[in-house]
């Protein structure tokens, strides 16, 4: 990572799995945040139900989000929008074993009193005809400083599997 990136905290899921990963008490002295997630859930990946998709919320608030996203699945491309908390595909039990979804989330000016924009670049990762790549532009219409970020499975209450990781970086502007 560039020298302006500082690793704030990192977590690796242990053998018992985890229902969620919560980054709390995020310091406010950076310009931007970057969250890098490598995750697999103990449920099947299902783009219709959201199985093995990871949902992200800020400060335990589940409202005031809006999203526009492009999804490619190996055969089709689609553009959609909604007003749910942002989510992204990871890997599920129906994907190639020992592989994890790869996601990079960038949040500029997380400490400002303006609305917060979020860029998400996510790959499902599986050796199959159907695999998902998602680019998402999200907005959290909230003036609060982002002090916590929660990651959890979107639809079925599934757990993060062992060796899933999440690393939060703070980015300085000089």
């Amino acid at each position: 990572m560039p020298t302006t990136y500082e690793a704030i905290a990192t977590v690796t899921v242990g053998s018992g799995g985890a229902s969620s990963i919560d980054f709390t008490s995020i310091p406010s002295n950076y310009s931007d945040l970057c969250l890098v997630v490598s995750a697999r859930f103990n449920t099947s990946l299902d783009a219709n139900t959201g199985g093995a998709f990871c949902k992200m919320t800020f400060n335990n608030v589940t409202t005031s989000y809006s999203n526009r996203f492009l999804t490619g699945d190996g055969s089709n491309v689609a553009s959609n929008n909604n007003t749910n908390p942002p989510n992204f595909p990871c890997a599920g039990t129906n994907n190639t074993s020992n592989t994890f979804g790869s996601t990079s989330i960038y949040i500029p000016n997380y400490g400002s009193s303006n609305n917060k924009s979020i860029s998400i670049d996510a790959i499902n990762e599986t050796n199959a005809t159907t695999a998902y790549a998602v680019l998402r532009a999200s907005l959290w219409s909230n003036s609060a400083v982002i002090s916590s970020i929660k990651l959890e499975e979107l639809a079925t209450g599934a757990n993060f599997l062992q060796y899933s990781t999440a690393t939060l970086y703070g980015i300085k502007n000089s």
Partner: protein
């Protein structure tokens, strides 16, 4: 009991915390709703396939011929 990982970014400490009964109930409800949604979608898919087969029969087409026309 299911657990969650809470990372205190001010110290870097990672704590594994058991979910409360309410949190577990929420997870179980989400799982149940996902199962019901999946069952509904499978029913709809089966109904569409049955309808296509019926149309193919009425038109005197095989399933492959109908698929070729629609692709």
């Amino acid at each position: 009991m299911p657990t969650k990982l809470v990372v205190d970014c001010s110290t870097g400490a990672v704590e594994e915390i058991e979910l409360t009964a309410e949190e577990v109930a929420e997870m179980e409800l989400a799982a149940q709703q996902a199962e019901e949604q999946k069952a509904r979608e499978e029913e709809e898919k089966a109904a569409k396939q049955a309808a296509r087969a019926e149309i193919a029969t009425r038109l005197g087409l095989s399933a492959e011929e109908l698929s070729t026309l629609l692709s």
